[in-house]
C-alpha cells in the first residue's frame, strides 16, 4: 500500500512517534508579545465600500446608488448595524461578529494614496509609504520590534510573500499543495542530498514541518491538481486558505502574524446589489473568514484581523452597472480580542459637493491609524517604532484607539 506523505505524517504524529519528520518545536516566544495573533487580509482589486457597508440611513443613499442600492427589507435585505450603517446581506458571519461585539467597521477610510491605479494603491497600502511606495512592507518592518523576525513568526498564505511582508526580516509562506505529493522516502533522499547545503536543508525541513502543521486543514483535499487549482486561490474558494491559516495560527508553536489575499473586487461591470457578482464574492469571503475563526478555536480570543483594500470605488454606478476606481471606502477590524460593535466613520454624506472630485468617497481617516492602533495596543509596539520605522514620517497620524478592551 502506497501511503502519501501526509498520511504517514498523520500516523507518526498521532502515535507521538519521534522521527526525523517530526520536527522539534522551533518557535521561541521570549520576545513575542504574549500569544496574540495579528492577521491582515488584503482585498485586492478595490472593494466597493458602499456595497459592503451600505450607509442606508443616509438620505441620499438610495438615490445616488440607484440600482446598486441594497434593500432594507425582504429576502436580500442588508443587515442593519446602528440605524445608519449596515452590512451587505452576504456578510452573515460578519454580522455575527458584530453582534458578539467583535467587529469594528470603518468608513471614509483610505491609505495616503490619492490616485487610482491598483498597483500603486496596493504598493502604498502594503509598503506603508507616506507619499510614495517603499521597497519593503510595513508589516515586515514591524516584525523585528515585535521579536518575530526569525522566519517562523510571520506567515504569508502565498507561494512567496506579498509586498506587505517583504523585506529584511525572515518570513515563511504556505499554500495548500496543488500537486500529488512525492512519497516520504523520496523526500528523505532529497533531504540527504542537502546535507552540505544548509539553506536548502533548513528550507526543506521547514516545508515539511509546515505541511505537517497544516495537515489537519487538508482533510477535504481535492483529488487532482486541476480540481485544486480551480477551487482554491485568491480568486476562487477562500475557505481552504483561510482555514489553513487559522489552523497554523492556532498552534502554540505557530506563527503570530499572517497575511492573506482575496481578489475579485474590481467590479467595473454588472456588480449587482443584494444578489449578483459582488454578492457571491462577498459570500465566499464571509465563509472564509468564518472558517478561519473556527480553525483558530480558543486562539480567536487573542486574534485581531484587519481587512483592507487599496482604495474604494465611485459612489455612483457607471454605465455598465458597476463602479470605477475611487478613493476612500470601508475597512474592517475584527477578532475575539477586539472591543467591537461600533462604526468609526467621519461621515459627511453622499452629496456630490462633499465627494472627492465630485465622485469618490472623501478620505477622512488614514488606514495607517488603524494599523498603528492594532500594532500598538494589541501587539505592544512602541510609538517611536510605529512613527519612524513601520510607517516612516507618519508622526502626524495618531494610532487609533481604543480598539481593544483595556
Amino acid at each position: 500500500m502506497m501511503l502519501d506523505r501526509r498520511s504517514i505524517l498523520k500516523t507518526a504524529l498521532a502515535a507521538g512517534a519521534a522521527s526525523v519528520w517530526d520536527a522539534p518545536i522551533r518557535f521561541a516566544f521570549a520576545n513575542v508579545p504574549g500569544d496574540r495573533r495579528f492577521v491582515v487580509v488584503i482585498l485586492r482589486g478595490a472593494l466597493d465600500g458602499l456595497a459592503a457597508v451600505p450607509p442606508h440611513g443616509d438620505p441620499d443613499y438610495q438615490s445616488v446608488r440607484g440600482k446598486l442600492a441594497l434593500d432594507t427589507t425582504g429576502t436580500n435585505a442588508l443587515h442593519d448595524l446602528d440605524g445608519q450603517f449596515g452590512l451587505h446581506p452576504s456578510l452573515l458571519n460578519m454580522k455575527g461578529m458584530w453582534d458578539a461585539k467583535e467587529l469594528i467597521v470603518f468608513h471614509n477610510i483610505a491609505s495616503p494614496y490619492r490616485d487610482r491605479s491598483h498597483f500603486d494603491g496596493q504598493a502604498m497600502l502594503e509598503s506603508g509609504g507616506e507619499s510614495h511606495a517603499l521597497g519593503d512592507g510595513w508589516l515586515n518592518r514591524a516584525l523585528k520590534p515585535m521579536g518575530l523576525a526569525d522566519g517562523d513568526g510571520a506567515l504569508a498564505i502565498a507561494a512567496s510573500p506579498p509586498l506587505m511582508l517583504e523585506g529584511s526580516a525572515k518570513v515563511s509562506s504556505w499554500l495548500p499543495a496543488v500537486m500529488p505529493e512525492p512519497d516520504l522516502a523520496f523526500l528523505k533522499r532529497v533531504s540527504a542530498l542537502y546535507a552540505k547545503d544548509p539553506v536548502l536543508r533548513a528550507s526543506l525541513a521547514q516545508a515539511i514541518d509546515t505541511e505537517a502543521k497544516a495537515d489537519a486543514a487538508m482533510d477535504d483535499k481535492p483529488k487532482t491538481a486541476q480540481q485544486m487549482a480551480q477551487r482554491v486561490g485568491a480568486y476562487g474558494d477562500l475557505t481552504p486558505l483561510f482555514a489553513g491559516a487559522g489552523r497554523l495560527l492556532a498552534r502554540d508553536d505557530g506563527p503570530r502574524v499572517a497575511v492573506l489575499d482575496a481578489s475579485g473586487w474590481d467590479t467595473h461591470v454588472n456588480e449587482g446589489a443584494g444578489d449578483g457578482q459582488l454578492a457571491r464574492r462577498l459570500r465566499t469571503l464571509d465563509a472564509g473568514l468564518d472558517a478561519m475563526k473556527s480553525a483558530l478555536g480558543p486562539a480567536w480570543k487573542k486574534t485581531a484581523v484587519v481587512m483592507a483594500t487599496e482604495f474604494g470605488r465611485t459612489v455612483a454606478p457607471n454605465g455598465g452597472g458597476g463602479t470605477d476606481h475611487g478613493t476612500a471606502g470601508a475597512a474592517f477590524l475584527f477578532g475575539g480580542a477586539v472591543a467591537g460593535g461600533k462604526v468609526e466613520a467621519e461621515w459627511v454624506g453622499l452629496k456630490p459637493s462633499v465627494l472627492k472630485d465630485g465622485r469618490d468617497q472623501p478620505p477622512r481617516t488614514d488606514l495607517r491609524a488603524v494599523f498603528k492602533g492594532v500594532l500598538a495596543d494589541h501587539m505592544g509596539m512602541a510609538r517611536r517604532d510605529l512613527d519612524n520605522t513601520v510607517f516612516p514620517d507618519s508622526g502626524g497620524v495618531a494610532a487609533m484607539g481604543p480598539l481593544f478592551a483595556a
Binding site: D115, S117, F119, D120, A123, S131, H132, G135, A159, S160, P161, P162, L163, S172, S173, W174, L175, A177, V178, M179, P180, E181, P182, F186, L187, R189, V190, A192, L193, Y194, A195, K196, D197, V199, L200, S203, L204, Q206, A207, I208, T210, E211, A229, H268, V269, N270, N318, G319, G320
Partner: protein
C-alpha cells in the same frame, strides 16, 4: 568535458541541453560571446498559427476595443465585454509566453537568452496591468531583444518609448497641466514613469535625484503616449499635451518638445550613477548574490568607458574570474529552474508541445515566477533567498518528481546527468541516482539536487 565549459553552460547559459557542454569547445568565453554576434532569437508561435503582431498593430486593436466599449456602455444592456476581451487577451498573452518559454528550452544561444531575461526584468513591464497585457510580449520582442548587445542608451529609449511601458507606467495619461490639452481637459501630471525611470531603470534609488526631479522628468515626458492610429510603433508624441517652457532636471535646463525627453534619457543613460546601478545588478545576476566589490567596479568602469556598450558589459562579466568559481552558486529562479530541467531532459520528445509548455508555465508560476508578470515595476527578485522559501522548494521537488514520472523506463538517467552536468555533478547525487528504483526517480533526484537547484 571541462569544468569551465560546464560552468559556462549553467551559470551564463540556461543549463545544458544534451551534448551542449561537449560542444562548448576549448574556449568557453569565446563560445559565450560568439552567441551575441547575431543577436537574440525571436520566439516563434508554437501552435504554427499566425505570427506575433507588432506593437503598433496591437495598440490600434486596443484603442479600437476601448472605443467599442464606450459605445456599448451607452447602450442599455451591454454584454460583459471586459471579461470577453480579457479572455481573448489572456489567451494571446499565454500564446506568446509559451513561445518564449519554449525558446528557452531549445535555444542554441542560451547566453543571449539569459541576457534577454535580465534586461527584460530590468525594464519590467507586467501583464498585472490589464491595459498592458496586450503589449508586454511585443515589448520584449521590440525593445529588448534587438538591443542586448547594443548600447544602454538605445535600449532605454526603445523601452521608454514602447507603448507597453507608456501604458504600464501610466505615461500615456501624463499631460502637462499648462499644456493646451491640460488646460482644456483639466488633466495633469502622472509621475509614475518619471520616478521609475530614475529609481529603477537608470540612476538607482540613491542615484541623486529629488521629488522635484521626479516632477521635472514627468513634465519632460508629457506628450509621450500611444499613437491613436496605432502606426508602426504604437508610440506618438503629442505637442498639445506637452508642458510648455523650460524644465530643470538635476540642474540642467531642457527646453521642451519631444527632443527634450530624448536628451534627458540620453543624459540619464550616461550618468555615472546609472553605471554604478547597472553594474551592481549585472554582477548580482551573473556573479553572486553578494558579488565582490572589485567585480562590480570592473563592470562599472566598462560601462563608463564604453558609454554603456552592453556587449562590452557582458564580456566584462564573462571575463571576471569571480564568475567562474565553481561550487554552490545562486539559486536558479523558477524560470531558470524549469527551463534547465526541460533542457537537460532534451525537450521536446513528441506529444503536444503547446500543452506541455503551458503545463510547465503553470508549475513555474506555482514556484513563484511567471514571465512578464512581475508583481511590481521592480521586476522579479534576483537573489537566492527569494526562491528558496519552504513552499517554493517543496513545489520544485514535487514538480521534479512529476517530471520524473514522464521519463521512459529505458532512459539511462546517470548518463543524462553526466552529460548534462559534467564535472558539476556531485558524487552524492550520482550515488543516489544510481541506487534509485527507476530512471524517473533518478532524474527527479537530479533535478532536486543542490547542484541543479543552483547555477
Amino acid at each position: 568535458m571541462s569544468l569551465e565549459a560546464a560552468v559556462a553552460v549553467h551559470r551564463f547559459g540556461l543549463g545544458a541541453r544534451p551534448g551542449e557542454i561537449g560542444s562548448v569547445g576549448p574556449k568557453p568565453r569565446a563560445w559565450l560571446m560568439g552567441q551575441l554576434d547575431s543577436g537574440a532569437d525571436q520566439p516563434q508561435p508554437l501552435d504554427g498559427g499566425p505570427a506575433f503582431l507588432p506593437g503598433g498593430t496591437l495598440v490600434s486593436q486596443l484603442l479600437a476595443y476601448r472605443r467599442e466599449r464606450q459605445m456599448e456602455r451607452k447602450e442599455a444592456n451591454p454584454p460583459d465585454p471586459v471579461k470577453m476581451f480579457f479572455k481573448v487577451l489572456g489567451q494571446q498573452f499565454l500564446r506568446e509566453m509559451a513561445a518564449r518559454m519554449a525558446l528557452g528550452f531549445t535555444t542554441q544561444k542560451p547566453f543571449a537568452e539569459q541576457l534577454v531575461w535580465f534586461w527584460s526584468n530590468h525594464f519590467t513591464v507586467s501583464a498585472t496591468n490589464p491595459a498592458a497585457i496586450t503589449l508586454v510580449a511585443a515589448f520584449e520582442r521590440e525593445a529588448i531583444r534587438p538591443n542586448i548587445a547594443g548600447t544602454f542608451e538605445d535600449m532605454l529609449l526603445a523601452s521608454t518609448r514602447h507603448p507597453a511601458m507608456q501604458l504600464y507606467l501610466d505615461n500615456a495619461q501624463n499631460i502637462g497641466p499648462d499644456s493646451l490639452a491640460g488646460l482644456i481637459a483639466h488633466k495633469g501630471l502622472n509621475e509614475n514613469l518619471g520616478r521609475e525611470l530614475m529609481e529603477l531603470h537608470t540612476l538607482g534609488v540613491d542615484g541623486g535625484y529629488t521629488q522635484a526631479d521626479v516632477i521635472a522628468l514627468a513634465k519632460i515626458l508629457t506628450g509621450w503616449s500611444l499613437d491613436k492610429d496605432g502606426g508602426t510603433t504604437g508610440f506618438h508624441y503629442y505637442p498639445a499635451r506637452h508642458e510648455p517652457g523650460d524644465i530643470v532636471l538635476r540642474g540642467k535646463t531642457y527646453s521642451g518638445g519631444e527632443e527634450a525627453g530624448i536628451q534627458a534619457l540620453k543624459d540619464l543613460a550616461h550618468d555615472p550613477a546609472t553605471a554604478r546601478h547597472i553594474a551592481g545588478k549585472f554582477a548580482v545576476h551573473f556573479i553572486a548574490d553578494d558579488p565582490p566589490a572589485e567585480s562590480v567596479a570592473r563592470l562599472e568602469a566598462s560601462f563608463n568607458r564604453t558609454g554603456g556598450n552592453l556587449r562590452a558589459l557582458a564580456e566584462t562579466a564573462v571575463n571576471d574570474p569571480a564568475a567562474w568559481k565553481p561550487g554552490p552558486g545562486k539559486m536558479r529562479s523558477p524560470m531558470e529552474y524549469t527551463t534547465a530541467a526541460l533542457r537537460i531532459v532534451g525537450w521536446p520528445q513528441g506529444g503536444d508541445r503547446d500543452k506541455q509548455v503551458k503545463s510547465v508555465m503553470a508549475a513555474t508560476k506555482m514556484m513563484g515566477e511567471f514571465p512578464m508578470l512581475a508583481p511590481s515595476p521592480k521586476g522579479w527578485p534576483d537573489v537566492s533567498e527569494a526562491w528558496s522559501g519552504p513552499d517554493a522548494l517543496l513545489n520544485r521537488i514535487e514538480w521534479a518528481k512529476e517530471l520524473g514520472n514522464r521519463i521512459p523506463p529505458n532512459v539511462d538517467a546517470v548518463a543524462v546527468a553526466d552529460e548534462g552536468m559534467g564535472p558539476l555533478l556531485g558524487a552524492d547525487t550520482r550515488a543516489a541516482m544510481k541506487s534509485a528504483a527507476t530512471p524517473g526517480d533518478a532524474v527527479a533526484l537530479l533535478l532536486s539536487s543542490p547542484e541543479f537547484q543552483r547555477r
